[in-house]
Amino acid sequence: MKESLLEILCCPLDKHELELEDAEYDGDEVVSGDLACSDCGETYPIEDGIPNLLPPDMREETPA
């Protein structure tokens, strides 16, 4: 993802702003890192450059 995506992304749960943490870049692409809600503190992972903004309970359904 590009950082410009952050302009319109928000926390799926409470719709507050997200902050980019521990970002690793490839050019202007953010390839990994976390998106942390500025309000509830929930974090959402960026995996292979794709942010996973599923609500945490749906994300955890993933078979291990």
Binding site: I8, C11, Y44, I50, L54, M58
Partner: protein, 226 residues
């Protein structure tokens, strides 16, 4: 199975591309109607292979197109199929969209809306993220009047909502979306074999197949946020 498990499987066995090919027959006509202006931000809900976003960028000079999908494998395939820097994908769920209020100019969704666990909630989320005057283009092949689609639920573990044309209009309005248009877009491209070849696949007779594709086709409902 969850949306994630079901559609991760579809993405992995190539059904994302198969859907793209079939859905394009009608999706392209619906996409051609979207009043996308240069610079607009467009969201594709349940993007699958992401072809709609690619098409919108190619034809309309949209500013940015984002595809959201509940299946990480779909989003990952979609990312691979394009290198347009203005197209990007996000994993997320229809029930709680991770986008700011009023941040999107147009929402597109093809053959995906009815998988929402609570379609009314999803419409409210769409009305929330759309800027005033923004449109929601909702295209479905699975709906009440299309009797040939009723059996589809048997083949999929995710529960599907089967609304009629009227239920779509009513639900849009209840969510604060004005209904601007609704119609059936026929699929004029799919090959329908000669009479003699029936029964074939799922089709008992030719008339049924003609009705399914050439008449019912895809139901498009267009809503406008206020």
């Amino acid at each position: 199975m969850s949306v994630r498990e079901e559609f991760d499987e579809w993405a992995t066995d190539g059904r994302d591309r198969g859907m793209e090919e079939r859905h394009w027959h009608t999706a392209k006509h619906a996409l051609a109607r979207m009043p996308v202006e240069s610079g607009d931000i467009v969201l594709d809900l349940g993007c699958g292979s992401g072809y709609a976003g690619r098409a919108i960028r190619d034809t309309n000079d949209a500013g940015r197109v984002y595809g959201l999908d509940g299946s990480p494998e779909m989003a990952s395939n979609a990312t691979e199929y394009t290198d347009d820097p203005r197209v990007a994908f996000v994993v997320g769920d229809f029930g709680s969209l991770p986008f700011e209020t009023n941040s999107i100019d147009h929402v597109w969704s093809m053959e995906a809306f009815y998988y929402a666990a609570d379609p009314h909630e999803t419409l409210e989320e769409i009305a929330r993220v759309l800027a005033p005057g923004g449109t929601f283009y909702c295209a479905v092949n699975y709906y009440e009047e299309n009797v040939h689609s009723h059996e589809w639920q048997e083949f999929i573990t995710v529960e599907m909502t089967r609304w009629s044309r009227e239920q779509y209009r009513e639900a849009f309005r209840n969510a604060g979306l004005s209904v601007a248009a609704q119609d059936n877009i026929p699929d004029r491209e799919i090959t329908i074999p000669n009479e003699a070849e029936f029964p074939i696949d799922d089709w008992e007779n030719r008339e049924a197949m003609v009705e399914r594709y050439r008449e019912y086709g895809t139901l498009l409902t267009v809503g406008v946020a206020t």
